[in-house]
Amino acid sequence: MLNASLRQLSSLLSEKKISSTELTGEFLTRIKALNPDLNAFITVNEEKSLEQARVADEMIASGQSTPLTGIPIAQKDIFCANGWLTTCGSKILSNFISPYDAAVVKQFDQAGMVNLGKTNMDEFAMGSSNETSYYGPVKNPWDRLAVPGGSSGGSACAVAARLAPAATGTDTGGSIRQPAALCGISGIKPTYGLVSRYGMIAFASSLDQAGPMAKSAEDLALLLNVMVGFDERDSTSLQRKKEDYTQSLERSVSGLRIGLPKEFFAEGMSSDVSSAVEAALTEYRKLGATFVEVSLPNSKLAVPVYYVLAPAEASSNLSRFDGVRYGYRATQYTNLEDLYAKTRAEGFGEEVKRRILIGTYVLSHGYYDAYYLQAQKLRRLIAEDFTKAFEQCDLIMGPTSPTVAFNIGEKCDDPIQMYLSDIYTSAASLAGLPGMSIPVGFGNNRRPAGLHIIGNYFREAQMLNVAHCYQQVTNWHELTPLEINR
């Protein structure tokens, strides 16, 4: 049951071999047992989840179910969920019960899926290790000394440890793909604008994009079918014809042209990750794909550009957390200025403050042109590199992360090293392109490695198809951490 695919769970539910209440209960029991150590969830609310499960069971009984009705899903704590504590991994929202549902939460609710709880994350999605969470670090289920990656580390851990059949994540510079890679699961960040950002707490609005995290590409396709859609409440949401992402999963990849950016296969990638990626590419060759070397000359600037633009937007997006209307407020203050200063000094963690400072600096009078504007220009060049590359290939592949999961605490004091975890993922984010990560084996200490697939705009179906074909001939995605399986 724990390793069952969403399709299998769907069959069991519709054939009434199991009820949603039983299924939800089973996962809740697992969470109760394993979460105290893994710390994947910030909030679990058995009562609310089981109530939703009962509603799902009624939907199934009355024949009103969708393919995903009754299946539990864990929600990253960045999504507002009506009546749920919604913290975004921060102390400053430690008392915030959302009065409304994010678009993503609502979509899954309407599909009859059960909210299993709110998963841990780096504070305001700022981090690559889940160590910036106010609610403590999340452990990597493959090796509890290791980080799960971030910022969607709780979601990645929950799926990898089989605490949930699927989870939602958000990705600003790699926050779905990097933890998916480090936890050995599959995750996709769709083209910017495909999934509504309404109710998703903003980090960097021009980059933030929600996506599903699950065991396999097929599961991702089913979840994406629910998540993608135009939302008039989000002005950056795209109006497109609805697509069925499961339709072309089985298509042959023979003749597929895979672009390999020479910049991604240069120094920086550790040898264990390199071997795993090479092995995956060999599988693709066997499946009939061809390879072409492409160049993304400006991609080396992606991390610095990202760390100008994302903090700039964040410094403004996080201004609303001022202790005036909701959330944490300092208890002792002498005047308005002091209320703001103390509330934010006490309510935000170190990494969030660092990024607010960087963002405030780059937007300041006299620095704007040199940093923000310059970064915007480079962002365009980075996007143009991809446009050129896609003239030569259908998809781009490379490593998701330069290394396998590092140890908890290892990079905490070195933000630059931490930021370089996103070296392969941030370029696609800046270009607004879809990117995904699938597990392709293990590196040092039997920690998972991920293959990064970048598609052209709106080519999610093709990416899922390509990932699915790989998963038909390999079983990395089916493996579970030994300890967890006991």
Binding site: F79, C80, T86, C88, L93, F96, S98, P99, Y100, A102, R197, Y198, G199, M200, I201, A202, A204, S205, S206, E232, R233, D234, S235, T236, A312, E313, S315, S316, L318, S319, R320, F321, D322, V324, R325, Y326, L336, Y340, T360, L363, S364, H365, Y368, Y372
Partner: protein
């Protein structure tokens, strides 16, 4: 030394849309505090702004009315600062590529006419309100106003006196109401002025250091604040000091401006394009549609009234001060095409006077233009005298929509031009006033008027005054 005053105005116009500029909440004034602030307005985590199409349309309408350029794409930017009545910690406004750029309006002071150029007009959201009354040691926040759409209209520093500044503000006030984008209610804050004031030696073409005066919510305050500020600056300069660039607040109770903050404390607003709102592309066809629906503008009407109706510039200015007034006038003239001057006189005189007295706006006038024209027709054809007409007007004002003719007949007010009848009144008055007849004949012209007055009186005002004059003169010179 002779000093020249230099003034530029920034005017915030609240747009008369039904909902807010980035949310669906109502903008109606005077509701219970915080009852009209939705999730977007109070900036809950995760909410996003969606631009109100009508607000854009109104801005375009304004741009077209002042002959400005409409920028496409137009860009929204965030202006970052912390204040409790600014829920997001930033105001969505515009910096580069404001929706409206350039344009001009004509102002008139006395018989002088001047063109004032506009720098720009941009869309932005209003903040909420902080209130310190009724909360002991605390501040109350009302977010009903937060997110209301504003058009900030910035002029070039081309005004040279408080009189010109007021004339400009009034011209804009009239225009935004004329084109229906703002209700113009200054008490409720729908139309707010900030003035940038500086002085320089006459003849200089270098701008002096300016001060910005905030919170001028009436034309009178605008005038007085500028006058005070100009005097203050001249005082400082003449005593050898220099002006410090600062923001000053006008205190109406003490009739003075005082420093709010100086340039050194000025915020760095860290403007940057709002990533939640894409650049707004405005199709030319849409602009043309808006242009087609634009009403005839006050300046055009004013010129037409002078040319087609032969009104004086003064009359034309007054009648085109508000669209409702001008419409009223045109309706009246439509029913009485040959008598536009008489219509103008009555509307500016009797009608406006009565409206002022009863504190009514022209669109609530109990006498409609058709009724008025019906009455004026009876003056021109001699049915009633001007004096009787005022009584009829009074009856119409109190009445139930009766026409002038109905009232004249019912009250038997028809003017008497019948010579025989008038002669009888003359006989009666002359017989009773032998002394005045003698006085007149002895050369006292005044006596004549007194006699006319008495004849009118016994005719109950119905005698045709012109005829009374002629017949009386004839009798007295016999």
């Amino acid at each position: 030394m002779q000093w020249e005053t230099v003034i530029g105005l920034e005017i915030h116009v609240q747009l008369a849309t039904r909902s807010k500029i980035f949310s669906g909440a109502s903008v109606a004034y005077g509701a219970q505090p915080n009852s009209q602030a939705c999730a977007v307005d109070i900036a809950l985590p995760g909410v996003l702004p969606v631009l109100n199409r009508k607000a854009v349309e109104y801005a375009i309408r304004f741009g077209l009315a002042i002959n400005a350029a409409i920028n496409s794409p137009s860009i929204f930017a965030r202006k970052n600062y912390f204040y409790p009545d600014l829920p997001k910690g930033y105001q969505i406004s515009q910096l580069e590529r404001p929706i409206v750029e350039g344009g001009h309006v004509t102002i008139r002071t006395g018989d002088k006419e001047k063109t004032i150029h506009l720098t720009r007009a941009h869309l932005e959201e209003d903040a909420g309100k902080s209130t310190h009354e009724g909360f002991h040691d605390k501040t109350g926040i009302d977010l009903n106003r937060a997110g209301t759409g504003l058009l900030e209209i910035v002029s070039e520093p081309e005004m040279r006196s408080s009189t010109e500044a007021v004339a400009y503000a009034k011209a804009l006030h009239s225009l935004v109401r004329w084109i229906g984008i703002c209700d113009g209610n200054m008490q409720e804050g729908s139309f707010r002025c900030d003035a940038n004031v500086s002085v320089r030696p006459a003849g200089s073409d270098v701008l002096g250091t300016r001060c910005e005066i905030k919170n001028l919510n009436s034309f009178r305050f605008l005038e007085r604040a500028i006058d005070y500020e100009v005097a203050r600056q001249i005082d400082i300069l003449e005593s050898g000091g220099s002006i410090i660039q600062q923001t000053r607040l006008y205190d109406a109770d003490r009739d003075e401006t005082r420093s709010m903050r100086s340039k050194e404390d000025a915020h760095d607003y860290r403007y940057f394009p709002d990533p939640d709102l894409l650049p707004v592309v405005i199709p030319q066809e849409w602009i043309e549609q808006i242009r087609e629906k634009l009403p005839e503008l006050p300046e055009d009407r004013r010129n037409r009234y002078i040319q087609d109706f032969g009104l004086s510039a003064y009359d034309a200015n007054i009648l085109t001060a508000a669209r409702e007034l001008a419409d009223y006038f045109e309706q009246a003239v439509k029913h009485l095409p040959e008598q536009s001057k008489l219509c103008a006189n009555w509307i500016m005189g009797e009608v406006s006077g009565r409206l002022n007295k009863e504190e009514l706006e022209i669109d609530r006038c109990p006498v409609n233009p058709e009724q008025l024209a019906g009455l004026l027709l009876r003056i021109t054809d001699g049915t009633v005298s001007g004096k009787i007409a005022k009584d009829v007007f009074d009856s119409m004002w109190q009445g139930n929509g009766d026409s002038a003719d109905t009232i004249i007949d019912a009250k038997n007010l028809r003017q008497i031009s019948d010579g025989g009848e008038i002669e009888k009144w003359i006989d009666e008055v002359l017989a009773a006033n032998q002394q005045q007849v003698a006085d007149y004949r002895a050369g006292k012209e005044k006596a004549f008027n007194s006699l006319v007055g008495q004849i009118m009186k016994i005719s109950k005002g119905k005698a045709n005054p012109a005829q009374v004059n002629t017949l009386l003169k004839k009798r007295l010179t016999e």
